[in-house]
């Protein structure tokens, strides 16, 4: 599972400072959130998908796997809006369902937005190892080490929980917990999983915490850093590239508008 997220090649996106990237991403999220022009959001989606494919450092099949859930989000969110949204130019109506030109455009607009958010987010996540992110946050954003290390330690514990879940599932299969099926008994069934996993998890977390504290970790004091977090020329490249992407999207939406809808919001 860990190997799955290791990129097969690195570029300035991977080398850039995670905090710089994070600020860029928040700015992009804001831009995407407040874009109401269908053409602009369409080109934003196109540009960031391309960036994701060419700059995430992962192979296309991996990106496709990771993107699949977001395509489902695209279909779900846009179809709801298309089928049930408000609008005046009716294309087709059947009972509660009513497809209008306005609702259709608003629907695909929401879908495009979802995919844009996903591409931007994945571009960040796939190019930023969690350890690098927390080191950068501690050094550049003054995140207390207490929080950074509790996150990093818990990430390490996750595979163990997964392993235990499988052991527990096997154990219950063997014990033959058959009578627990059906009716309200699923609560009892849930308890059969949650109690042992929680007990092991809490015990383990407690032990890790004590082990960390005995190694002179106090969660707040001064510390040196194994991975120095510096800003570099890579950050400029990333900023330039992202700006270029937004600029290209804006220009194309002005000169090559595929839809020609200025504002998708419903106006009376």
């Amino acid at each position: 599972m860990n190997d799955f997220l290791i990129p097969h090649r690195v570029n300035p996106f991977h080398r850039a400072n995670p905090v710089a990237k994070l600020i860029c991403m928040i700015a992009l999220f804001m831009l995407t959130l407040f874009t109401h022009r269908l053409d602009f959001i369409f080109y934003q989606m196109t540009c960031f998908l391309l960036l994701l494919v060419f700059f995430s450092g992962h192979r296309l099949w991996k990106i496709s796997i990771i993107m699949t859930p977001f395509l489902i989000v695209f279909l779900a969110s846009s179809s709801t809006m298309i089928l049930f949204g408000k609008g005046d130019t009716i294309w087709w109506a059947w009972g509660l369902i009513q497809i209008s030109q306005e609702s259709f455009y608003r629907g695909i607009h929401i879908g495009f937005k979802a995919v844009t958010f996903a591409s931007e987010g994945l571009l960040f996540v796939l190019t930023t190892p969690s350890v690098a992110l927390f080191y950068a946050l501690m050094q550049k954003a003054k995140l207390p080490p207490k929080f950074a290390y509790s996150f990093m330690a818990s990430i390490r514990l996750l595979p163990m929980v997964w392993e235990e879940l499988q052991i527990r599932r096997n154990a219950l299969k063997i014990r033959g917990a058959r009578s627990l099926r059906g009716g309200m008994k699923w609560i009892g069934g849930l308890k059969l999983y949650i109690v042992p996993l929680l007990v092991q998890g809490i015990r383990r977390a407690h032990r890790v915490a004590v082990a960390m504290e005995t190694k002179a970790f106090d969660g707040k004091g001064r510390r040196s850093y194994y991975y120095p977090s510096e800003y570099s020329r890579n950050d400029c490249w990333v900023v330039l590239l992202l700006c270029a992407a937004v600029g290209a999207a804006l220009l194309m939406s002005v000169f090559l508008p595929p839809f020609g809808v200025a504002d998708v919001r419903y106006q009376l």
Binding site: I174, R175, R178, V199, E213, K215, R223, S224
Partner: protein, 532 residues
């Protein structure tokens, strides 16, 4: 040399105590009149206990499971009450300023995914400049006998024994004068156990060591002084190892300490003799039909064959130990027999074909009807809130009637030594009791085969012998026992057959001496081994 402290977590009174200690430089750590009680428990763990350790002394705290020796180590090392709040009181306590603690579980001592990052975590806490880090890391790893060209190695790729040595290296980074070792080898296989003790031996010079262990073979040349506790948390005696072992031999035996020669002593005892004896009515295993037949049998994980068995049979009354290095596929073999892994090839269970396409559906359910399974971690298989219900669970599932169930449960509780525990929650039992309960739950239905995944792992000697005696008792009833173990003694003494698994293959099936004796008496060695 860098002496570290985490004085900010030590209460002020302790610092005063440490200053007082400077007047008497000999004593480096200790506690006087310690009283400690866990909330909700009736009895004190310690009542007015005093103990002190001289600088450079190597002390072993020895006692039965649950006598509080690990708790005492936590008080002495300043973990209790500073990090773990526990109601306790003492007249005086000296906590050494420069100290490090090595814990039992290799999986819960790290917070970072890679070796270099984990070691860096410690150095960062000490504010060591980045430029010095790598040299120090290599020095520490060198001390514990670990060598890596590139330090950026995932910790998860290490064996448990290597992890434990890495944990020791990370403790050594701070160059502590006093080392507290809390059962550092209890969860390791013999190979890892040997290596961690070798590492501890090599770094012991010039340091004060406080060790808690119930396995003392490996530290004979290491400790100067042994403190023996009784089950009530009182000190029975304190003396150099040889002297103490001579005068407290009986107690060591009674407390389940793993001392050199403990097996031989057990085999001389009445229970041991009973275990090894071969009563006339021993099952005529070789003449019966096999319970399990395997031929060209494969078990898969993620489409990769992880265990391969050319041919093997299990007969009633067999006591099979499966041995082999870690990760060789021993557990995979048991899981394949339970139908929990995808399999291929011939597998017949009491004559029923388990390998056909039709059998693949619900085959775990089918296998579980004939085979009991005991997991390595007993807690993972408990399903009920009370000991008696835990045993009764499978009986209810089978739809037995109530009177019958309660009599069977009562019988099992007696047989497995769980009297008085009927209404406790399984999680509240001791390690040995949990283990016995897990065996009880798996065997109450009298299934013809019992599979056990390292049932003696981490257990003290008394519980180990108890489990083995129980298994032998079941074997005499005609049940086939199949047990994964790292305990070399088992193959030579109690088992009738040894299966060796290496690199995902069952490479050897060997009749043990005991097995030979039984087979000769039944006059059918060939049939037993499946050659005829």
């Amino acid at each position: 040399m860098m002496n570290t402290s985490y004085a900010n977590v030590i209460a002020e009174s302790d610092i005063e105590v440490a200053e007082q200690a400077a007047v008497v430089p000999d004593i480096i750590l200790g506690v006087q009149d310690l009283r400690l009680k866990f909330p909700g428990e009736a009895a004190f763990v310690f009542k007015d206990l005093s103990l002190s350790v001289r600088r450079g002394e190597k002390v072993l705290l020895l006692g039965p499971s649950g006598c509080g020796k690990s708790t005492l180590l936590q008080v002495l090392s300043g973990i209790m009450p500073e990090m773990v709040e526990v109601p306790l009181r003492f007249k005086e306590r000296i906590v050494p300023e420069s100290r490090g603690v090595l814990f039992q579980d290799p999986d819960t001592q790290f917070c970072m995914p890679y070796i270099d990052e984990e070691l860096a975590f410690v150095l960062e806490n000490l504010c060591i400049p980045r430029e010095e880090m790598e040299t120090r890391m290599r020095q520490a790893l060198d001390q514990v006998g670990l060598f890596f060209e590139n330090l950026h190695v995932p910790i998860n790729s290490l064996s448990q024994g290597m992890k434990q040595r890495l944990a020791l290296a990370s403790v050594l980074l701070a160059d502590p004068e006093v080392l507290f070792l809390d059962e550092p080898s209890a969860l390791l296989d013999p190979e890892g156990r040997k290596q961690i003790w070798e590492a501890i031996h090599s770094i012991a010079e010039g340091r004060t060591l406080v060790i808690v262990e119930h396995r003392i073979e490996e530290m004979m040349g290491l400790v100067d002084n042994v403190v023996l506790f009784n089950p009530d948390g009182q000190i029975l005696g304190q003396a150099p190892p040889m002297k103490l072992f001579a005068s407290f031999h009986e107690q060591l035996e009674q407390f389940g300490i793993w001392y050199p020669g403990v097996w031989e002593v057990f085999f001389m005892s009445r229970d041991g003799e009973k275990l090894l004896s071969l009563p006339k009515d021993a099952p005529r295993s070789s003449l019966a039909d096999p319970l399990i037949e395997l031929k060209q049998f494969y078990g898969y994980r993620q489409r990769r064959a992880v265990i391969e068995v050319e041919q093997a049979e299990i007969y009633p009354g067999d006591f099979i130990v499966i041995t082999g290095p870690n990760g060789a596929g021993k557990s995979s073999l048991l899981l394949s027999l339970m139908g929990l892994l995808p399999t291929d090839g011939t597998y017949r269970l009491q004559g029923i074909d388990m390998s056909g396409d039709k059998a693949k559906k619900r085959r775990t359910e089918k296998a579980a009807r004939k085979i009991g399974f005991v997991f390595q971690n007993p807690e993972m298989q408990f399903v009920a809130d009370q000991v008696s219900e835990e045993i009764a669970f499978s009986l209810y599932e089978e739809g037995d009637d109530k009177d019958n169930i309660s009599s069977l449960v009562r019988q099992a509780i007696g047989q497995f030594g769980l009297e008085g525990m009927e209404h406790r929650h399984p999680y509240q039992l001791s390690l040995g009791q949990k283990r016995r309960l897990s065996v009880a739950g798996a065997t109450v239905l009298n299934k013809p085969v019992l599979l056990l995944d390292e049932p003696t792992f981490g257990q003290d000697a008394v519980s180990t012998f108890a489990i083995l005696s129980l298994c032998e008792e079941l074997r005499r009833q005609g049940i086939a026992i199949v047990m994964i173990t790292h305990e070399e003694k088992l193959a030579d003494t109690i088992a009738t057959l040894e299966w060796r698994v290496v690199n995902g293959r069952l490479v050897e099936r060997r009749l043990t001496k005991r097995g030979e004796t039984i087979a000769k008496r039944n006059g059918a060695i060939g049939a037993w081994m499946g050659h005829e």
